[in-house]
Structures are given as C-alpha cells and as structure tokens.
C-alpha cells in the first residue's frame, strides 16, 4: 500500500509541477535560512574537546577589589595573578595542571635568505600538551624537569616547520628566537579547537599559537602577556617584578581532576588557599573560588555570540513563514483536487486512506525540500563566509558535518508533515461523490 | 422596450466560424412575459447573453429602453445592466459566503444607493418573497426553491425594467419549480416585463408569447413540441 501511495504522490507532484516546485522551494528556503544559523550556533556551542571536557577544570580565585566584583553580578576574575598562579601550581594538588599565557616572539631563520618573522607564542608549563591532547606530527612536548631547569625547549607548529625545515622531522634541531636558541621537542599538527577554549580571554575563535615555550623562561625574560592584563589595584613599583607581585591578572590556570571526589578536594584546597591569602592581607572579597569544566567555562564566558542567538530566533520566524506558505499551497492544491478525492471516497477509500495518501505526498515534498535545503544551507554558509571575508577561523564555523545534514533533512520532513496536517485533515472532510458533478 | 434588429453573433477561432445568432430581430413591449425556447445549441443562450448585455454582438442593432447599445463602453454597459436588467440564473448564482441580506445587496452596492435606502429595498423585497425571517441565513441553509426566490429578490431589488431569466427552474424539483413559476407570474401581473429562456415547452407555455429559436434564427410561432420534449 505504501508503495502505491508513493506512486500516487509522485504522479500528483508531476501533474502539478509548478505548485509542487513552489512548495519544495518554500520548504528549502526556510530550511536553508534556519540551518545556516543553526549550523553556526551548533559549531560555536560545540564541545571543542569532547573526550576530555569533563576532566579539565578552569581555576578562578577571587583576588579582586573589595568595592566591585570582577564580573557582574559577583563573579571572580577570569584570569589569575602571577602570585596565585605560581603558588597554586607549586602546591601540585591536581593530577595535572597547566599555567600559561599568550606572548609573542620573533623567529630568526638561520640562513641568509629568510627574513625574521613574528610569531604568536604561548608561554606555558609542560602539562599543556597531554592535558589538551594536542596532536603532534613529530615528537611531543617537554617534561616537568625541563620546566624546572628552564631548558630552552620549544614546540613549533606545522606552518613554522614548513617555513624553517621544509616540513621535515625537525625534532632535536634548534631555532633562534629573539637571540636565543631553543631545542625543538615536537612539531604540532593542525589543531583547530572550536572554540579556542583554553584561553577565551583573548578571542574565543581564532588560530592557536604558532610556538610554545616554557613559562619559566618567559618569566625570566620578563615577557608580559600579549592578551589582556587587568589590575584593580595600582602596581607597586615600575618594573616587571612589580607586575609579578601585583594584583594584576594575566594568566590562565587549568587543572585535571577525575571524579567528584577529586573536584571536591581541590575546591577545599582552593578555599584553604584563599584563607591563607586573607591572612596575608590579600583577597579582600568573600571567598568565591570556582572550578568550571570546559563546557561550563564556555557558558560563563558567553562564547556563543548574542548576535547568533538573535539571528536564530529570526531564522525560526523565517521558517514559520515558509511553512505557512507551504500550508497555503497545499490547501490550494487539495481544494483543486477535491474532485479526485471525492471520487476515491466514493470508490471506497476510507478517511484514513485519504489522510495517508496526502501525508505520504507531503513527505515526498518534505524530503525533496530537505535535500534542496541542504544545498541552500551550504549556499548560506558560503554567503556568511563571504560577509566575514578573510578571517580563517570562519571556515571552521561554516562547515556542515553529518549531524547537521541529518538535522536539516529531519527538520524538513517534520515541517512538511506538520504543515500538511491541516490541509490533509480538510481533504478527509470532503464527502464521497460530493464533487463529482463538477468533475 | 427591448428592440433587436438583425442581430448576428459570430464566434471566430483560427479554424472555425460559428454563427450563433443569425439575423435575429425581436421586439418586447413593457409588461410582456416572453419565453424564448429552442433545443440546446439553438442559440438561446447567446440571445440571453446579448439581451443581457453580457456579450457584444457582431452585427445588427439593439436598443434597450430607447437607448442604443452598440457603441457603449464596458462601464456604461455595466451601468445599464445594473439599472435596467434583473438576472435570474439557472444555478441561482448566489454567493455562498454571504448571507441572504448581503446577497440581495450586491447589485444595490454598485448602484450607489445610501445605506438606508438599500436596507429599505432589501427588507421590502425579501419580505415579498416570504423569507423575511431568514435574512441572516446562508444560501447553503436554504432549499433550491428558496435560493431561487432569493435570486429573484436580488433581481427585483433595483426595480429593473425587465427580468431576464435563464432556465429559472432547471435545477429545481417540480414542486419548487411550480412555486417559482407562480412567483414569476405574480411579478409579471404587477407589471414587470419578463423574458425567460428555457428548453422546457410546458414552461414556455405559461408565458404569454413564445419565440422559437433554431440554428440561431427565429422560427415561426408554433413550438415544435416533439423536438422541445426531446431537447
């Protein structure tokens, strides 16, 4: 029976090509608009590191101004001070921990031909690489020993490796940066966490750093942060040491904890630490420590643009209009076909049979609309890419994966079937033989 | 009151030329009840359309109430139809979404009467056909005979010069048909001219004068009964 309805559906569509095409187009356009925005929203709110997002926690302690909270209405500051970061790191109370910040370097290629060039760098402790599971082409990160002894080690990315070593395995070789030689321990493969969760303070979407070297060396060289530095209290003194001692926040601390017990224990430790700082005259605000896992941190930092959400609401409205259009077209089609329907009823079709026939037809239209809608979505995403031209990170946002494709088809089917309900119900109401003499 | 001389109607397509009316001449005086009969395809519908100013004829002349209709534009023709002619159609042609009152109101709106005048006319004419209590009902809630009576009321509301009826009882059973014919006879008695187009001979007989049409021409006065019955 189903195949019969399929056949009827296809025949009906062919008999009313313009009307059917309009219906498919209406659904496809609505789906296209909706799914373009849904896609962007989906990628923006996606989990950048699903296999580890539950065990990675961002650490916040409230070292801020007694008269004003760091974040409305009463959130702790989004980065840590040098004092707190290093103290918590030294206490070593988590399975793994990483303290890092964004810096910049100049790479000096050692051949006469290539000019020195600027790189975005990250000054970080060793656990960065295992904690964030960064992919490596060759080699790997360094170890805690290298951190402590301030070894001049470095991890470079694929592009820098291409530029300096023509893409060969350069582990063990050295590069010259700002007058010092660093030994390469690893070459990082393409890594595009979306969003760039480990440091959202400085742009949630963007490319990861090109060069990674030890935190300890960075501090010895008195390198400040290339990202945000915020101080609620004046720095006491002028030099870098003053910055290190100050209440300015400029670095990020992540820890790895497995299970609720470890998390509780660490929170308790943070509270104890805060108490100890209070005793020293710091931390004037009430104790307000936070441990947020990756997705929680993304939420707090409001990584998904407000604009995207507004557009999402408008896109849904758009889809609604397209569906209303479809309902109208379907209704018109059914009223035009009322002769056919009353004839079938006269010949013995039950209401259910009429209903099924037209629902199947709607399903075919929905499927066609969904497939075309995928094409429209792709067009829409390319359009968005064009609007934002030139920003590499946008490519990540405008790719459709299989989940999105299935959602598009599913949404199209559900919408088409939903839209068909009212007209089909009307179709069932047509009395047998009532329209016969006007055939 | 209605005067046609040598009216001809030719439909031309690319391949075929149809002479629907040939040399049709007719005079109808005030107060007459004339029936126009003939088999299907004889041209009586064409006559109806032309008499009712629904279509323009190819040649000849037609004066309605003294006024020549040949060179009238569409707006003037519409005005004439509106003021001078009351139509009664075979399938009643009531507007299904409007109630009785609004249906009768339709031609009056095009007339430009004030709201008060319209209401007075509509009430009067609906009461006259005996459906005064059902002004707010929809056509679907009335029987065929009642619907046709409403159509007659609609035709009368503007006090036309004559009624033009097209198979007025064609869609009615014999009982309803009888009541409608009775109504028409009453109206004619009161002085309204009626021209009725029909293919039923027994209906044609109730008119005072009968015109027989065949192949687009008027034939002699005697209706050919066996043809009419078969038609």
């Amino acid at each position: 029976m189903f195949r019969y309805y399929l056949k009827l559906g296809v025949l009906s569509i062919r008999r009313n090509p313009v009307l059917s095409a309009l219906m498919v187009a209406a659904i496809a356009t609505g789906i296209g608009a909706c799914m373009t925005i849904v896609n962007i929203d989906y990628v923006m709110s996606g989990n950048p590191i699903p296999h580890r997002s539950d065990v990675l926690y961002y650490v916040q302690v409230d070292s801020w101004d007694p008269y004003e909270s760091a974040r409305e209405p009463d959130g702790p500051p989004p980065q840590v001070t040098y004092r707190d970061g290093t103290a918590l790191l030294a206490a070593n109370k988590a399975r793994r921990q990483v303290l890092s910040y964004r810096s910049s370097r100049v790479v000096q290629p050692e051949g006469a031909t290539e000019l020195p060039f600027y790189v975005e760098s990250r000054s970080t402790t060793a656990d960065f690489f295992p904690m964030f599971d960064t992919p490596f082409m060759f080699g790997g990160g360094w170890d805690a020993l290298a951190d402590d002894s301030q070894d001049y080690v470095v991890v470079i990315n694929k592009e820098v490796n291409e530029r300096l070593f023509a893409g060969e395995n350069s582990v063990g070789r050295s590069i010259l940066m700002n007058g010092d030689h660093y030994r390469i321990t690893g070459v990082m493969d393409t890594w595009e966490p979306t969003p760039k969760f480990y440091d959202v303070n400085n742009g949630s979407f963007g490319e990861v750093e090109e060069v990674y070297f030890p935190f300890s060396i960075s501090i010895t060289k008195e390198l400040g942060s290339n990202g945000n530095t915020n101080c609620w209290k004046p720095i006491d003194g002028n030099g870098f040491e003053a910055l290190m001692n100050s209440e300015c926040i400029w670095m990020q601390l992540w820890v790895e904890l497995h299970g609720t017990q470890e998390k509780q224990d660490y929170l308790a430790f943070l509270d104890a630490y805060a108490e100890s700082q209070k005793a020293l005259g710091r931390f004037p605000r009430p104790i307000n420590n936070r441990l947020s896992n990756v997705m929680e941190w993304m939420q707090i930092e409001e990584v998904v643009d407000d604009d995207v959400q507004v557009l999402l609401g408008l896109a849904v409205l758009f889809l609604v209009v397209c569906l209303l259009n479809t309902i109208g077209l379907l209704l018109a089609k059914i009223m035009r076909r009322s002769g056919d329907i009353s004839l079938r009823r006269a010949l013995g079709a039950s209401r259910k049979a009429v209903f099924t026939q037209y629902i199947v037809e709607a399903g075919i239209i929905g499927l066609a609309g969904g497939l075309l809608g995928i094409g429209m979505t792709w067009l829409g995403l390319q359009g968005i890419k064009g609007l934002y031209g030139g920003f590499d990170f946008i490519t990540q946002l405008v790719t459709m994966d299989w989940v999105m494709i299935f959602v598009a088809i599913g949404l199209a089917l559900v919408s088409a079937l939903g839209a068909a309900l009212y007209p089909t119900w009307r179709a069932c109401g047509i009395q047998p033989a009532s329209q016969l003499n006007t055939l | 009151m209605l005067s046609m001389q040598n009216v001809s109607m030719v439909y031309r397509t690319e391949t075929v030329e149809t002479h629907a009316l040939r040399d049709f001449s007719l005079e109808v005086d005030e107060g007459e009840f004339v029936s126009v009969t003939g088999p299907s395809g004889s041209g009586k519908t064409t006559f109806l359309n032309i008499a009712g100013l629904l279509e323009e004829f190819t040649s000849g002349s037609y004066q309605l109430d003294g006024k020549d209709t040949s060179s009238l534009g569409d707006t003037e023709r519409s005005k004439l139809r509106n003021e001078k002619i009351g139509f009664i159609f075979q399938s009643f042609n009531l507007i299904p979404e409007l109630d009785i009152f609004d249906n009768v109101d339709v031609p009056l709106r095009y007339r430009g009467f004030s709201a008060a005048e319209r209401k007075e006319r509509i009430d009067h004419v609906i009461d006259m056909i005996g459906l005064g209590s059902r002004k707010k009902h929809l056509p679907s809630q009335l029987s065929g005979g009642q619907q046709q009576r409403v159509a007659i009321a609609r035709a009368l509301a503007g006090e036309p010069r004559f009624l033009l009826a097209d198979e007025p009882t064609g869609n009615l059973d014999s009982e309803m048909a009888e009541s409608v014919m009775q109504l028409l006879e009453d109206i004619n008695e009161k002085g309204t001219t009626i021209i009725m187009v029909t293919h039923e001979a027994n209906l044609a007989e109730r008119a005072r004068r009968n015109i027989l049409v065949r192949d687009g021409r008027i034939c002699s006065g005697e209706p050919e009964l066996h043809v009419a019955i078969g038609g």
Binding site: L22, A26, F117, P234, L317, N325 | -
Partner: protein
C-alpha cells in the same frame, strides 16, 4: 465601499486568508525587529572615532636583537618617519581607537581607594600626538616637549604630571563643568597620584567599540616599551597608500635587528572592529527582503487560486452591474482587509518579540515610528502582489455567469 460584506465573507471562509494574515504578521514582526537592529548598528558604526581616519595608518617594530638601544631606536625612527616626504606627522603610542585592544585606567577626583573611579582609555603619546591623531583641542593646550617622559622600569614617577582628556571624560569626572573650566583641575590616577588636566579634546574613541565608556580617553605624555614599538603615522592627504610600503622598507633597512610588521590603515581597523555589525546589517537586509518576497509570492499564489475558484461569482457580479474597476477594487479591498489583520497582529507580535529580545539580549527597544512604517510597507507589498490576480479577475467576462459548467 463594500467593507461589511467583504469582511463577513472573509470570516465565513477563513482558512486560506488566515494563512496569509499570519504570514504577513510574521513578516511584520521580523521586519520591525530587523529594522530596529539595523538602525542601531548603523548608528553605532556611524560614530566618529575623533581621529583623522582617512590618512592614518599604524605599524609596529618588534626587536629581537637584545643589544638594541630601544629609546635611541625610537627617537631615530620617529625623526626618520617625520622627515619622510608625504608624512604629516608620526608618534609612538600603545594603541589606536577601535583596535579592540589597549590600556585603561581609573581616575578619581579625590585621592583614596574607597569609591569607584571612572575608567578611561589611555593613549601614550608625545607632544606630536594631538597633531598626528588629528584630534581637536577645545580647551587648554597641547603638551610641551619637556612634559614628555620615558617610563623608567627601575623607579621614579609612574605617570606624567599633565594629561589631556576627552570632553566626555572631563564631564564624567566633573559634571556640569565646561571644558574650559575643567582645564587646571586635578584628578588622581592609581588612587593617589595627582595629574593635572591641561587640555580637553572634542572626541577620541577608546579601542573597545562596545564599551560603555567608549568616548572616554586620555592622552598621556609618556613613552614606554622595551622590545615592541607601535608607530601611528598620519600621511598628507592622498599619500597614505604609497607611503606604507615605503616606510616599512625604510624602517626595516635602518635597523635589521627588528622586524617591521602589522601595517594597517585606520580604515581597515574600523572595518575589522565593525565587521560583525556590518555583516549583521547585510544579513538582516537580505533576510527581510527574502521574506517579503516569499510572503509576496504567497499572496500572489493564494490570490490567483482564490480568483480562479470564484470565476462564476465574479461573472455574476459583473452581470449584476459591477464594472471592471469595481471588481479590481473589490479584490484590492479584500486583500487590504486581510493585510490589515496581518499587520495589526504583526505589530503586536513585533512588540512582544522586541520586548523579549531587549530582556534577553540587551537590544535597543524599537523606535515607535518603525511600526507604522512597516505596516505601510506591507500594505503596499500586499496590494502590489494582489494586483495581478485582481486585474485578471476584473477581466472575467460577464458571460461566465450564464455558463452551466
């Protein structure tokens, strides 16, 4: 006209008309809110930065040779740039308006830590800063060369003694005081350090375009840095684009222990800053246009169908005396009534939607006149869409009334 009967007829046969009315309502809701957002973004983007955007560009120097005498390098660079043909002026600074990254500090009117200060953006400049940026001084004076100091990391006064504020910052600190009166007043930086306002400039935006204090900026006569130097250069009109590669080359050749990079015009900086707003505007215009087109097509489709279904009725009306214009008017009026239901519902929807968005996303509430403007637009669109089918209706022959099939 025949509003009464048309309305009664619509009510009795609602289904297809309700659909059109709903489409119009949804289109209206979207249109109104989209226009509101477009208005707001356009307003944001139209704010002047206060600097000479047409002629300014920036670039930076990043040292990697630890032996470079940074301060000497900067002095020589500035001399060379300022002397370069086509350059009006140049200055070393930390940021420019709309760059989205920069420095800010708090200023107070009383020394101490208790109350909140007022945040302001900071631009480090020398006495050529005012001229280079092209800001207008409306009161007081510019810095003297003697007032410009180098930041000393080993100690000494952390901030210079004189500052120049924007009008907005001055009136935030000292309300109800004219710019001329603000000159000479003292404010406190880093809680206790007094600085004197020696001048007030008309406007200069902070680097952060979305900051509530975006009009609050302060020029500080100080130079600081150790490896990194950002130069802002104002070209003579028309010279900007050719100057950029020339200056880059000149600086790179002067000193090979550093790289010269990051050349960007103020125009580009503005574009980047407002890229999202600009994209949003374009997107919204596209969506509204597309939606209006779809609704329009929907009206055409349903009206055509509705006319085709009522051919006999139209013929009957014509027979009863309706002229062609009367039939046209009938369908235009019918559509007008449907559109009216749609736009009124849409207005309610639009306001509701806007209220929700104001609450959730902090959008600006709609200006009241957008609603009637959108209503009129949709009325016109509807009438335009129905005109074709209505005209076809008016051409239906009166003879249709007598046809039996």
């Amino acid at each position: 006209m025949e509003i009464g009967p048309i309305w009664r007829a619509l009510i009795r046969n609602k289904s297809s008309y309700v659909l059109i009315a709903l489409q119009i309502a949804a289109t209206m809701a979207l249109m109104v809110n989209a226009i509101s957002i477009i208005q707001e973004r356009t307003r944001l983007m139209g704010r002047p930065s206060g600097v000479d955007e047409a002629n300014i560009f920036q670039l930076y120097s990043m040292n990697f040779d630890p032996d470079i005498d940074y301060q000497a390098m900067v002095a020589e660079d500035l001399d060379a740039i300022r002397g370069f043909p086509g350059v009006a002026n140049a200055v070393m600074t930390n940021s420019v308006p709309l760059r989205q990254g920069g420095w800010s500090q708090s200023l107070r009117i009383e020394p101490g830590e208790d109350d909140e200060g007022t945040g302001t953006a900071i631009y480090f400049v020398d006495e050529q800063g005012v001229d280079t940026f092209g800001v207008d001084l409306v009161a007081g004076r510019n810095f003297e060369p003697t007032e410009v100091m180098w930041f000393n990391p080993d100690g000494g006064r952390k901030w210079p003694e004189s500052v120049i504020l924007t009008r907005a910052m001055a009136s935030e600190l000292f309300p109800d005081v004219t710019p001329a009166e603000a000159v000479g007043k003292v404010a406190y930086i880093e809680n206790n350090l007094p600085v004197t306002i020696i001048g007030v400039m008309d406007r200069m935006q902070a680097p952060w375009k979305s900051w509530t204090g975006v009009e609050r900026s302060m020029l500080v006569p100080m130079k600081r840095g150790e490896e990194f130097a950002r130069y802002v250069i104002r070209a003579e009109p028309g010279y900007r684009d050719e100057l950029i590669p020339q200056i880059e080359k000149m600086l790179a050749e002067r000193n090979t222990g550093r790289i010269i990079d990051g050349a960007r015009t103020m125009t580009e900086i503005r574009e980047r800053a407002y890229m999202e707003d600009s994209a949003m505007i374009k997107l919204l215009v596209f969506i509204v246009s597309l939606l209006t087109a779809i609704t329009s097509l929907g009206i055409v489709g349903l009206a055509s169908f509705s006319v085709a279904r009522r051919t006999k009725q139209i013929g009957t009306r014509r027979a009863l005396g309706a002229t062609r214009p009367a039939i046209l008017r009938y369908f235009l009026l019918e559509n007008f009534l449907i559109s009216s239901v749609g736009v009124i519902t849409g207005a309610v929807l639009a306001v509701g939607l806007n209220m929700w968005m104001v609450q959730t996303f902090n959008l600006t509430p709609i200006a009241w006149y957008i609603i009637p403007a959108a209503m009129v637009t949709l009325w016109i669109v509807g009438q335009g869409a129905v005109y074709g089918p209505a005209r076809r209706a008016s051409l239906v022959s009166p003879a249709t009334a007598t046809r039996t099939v």
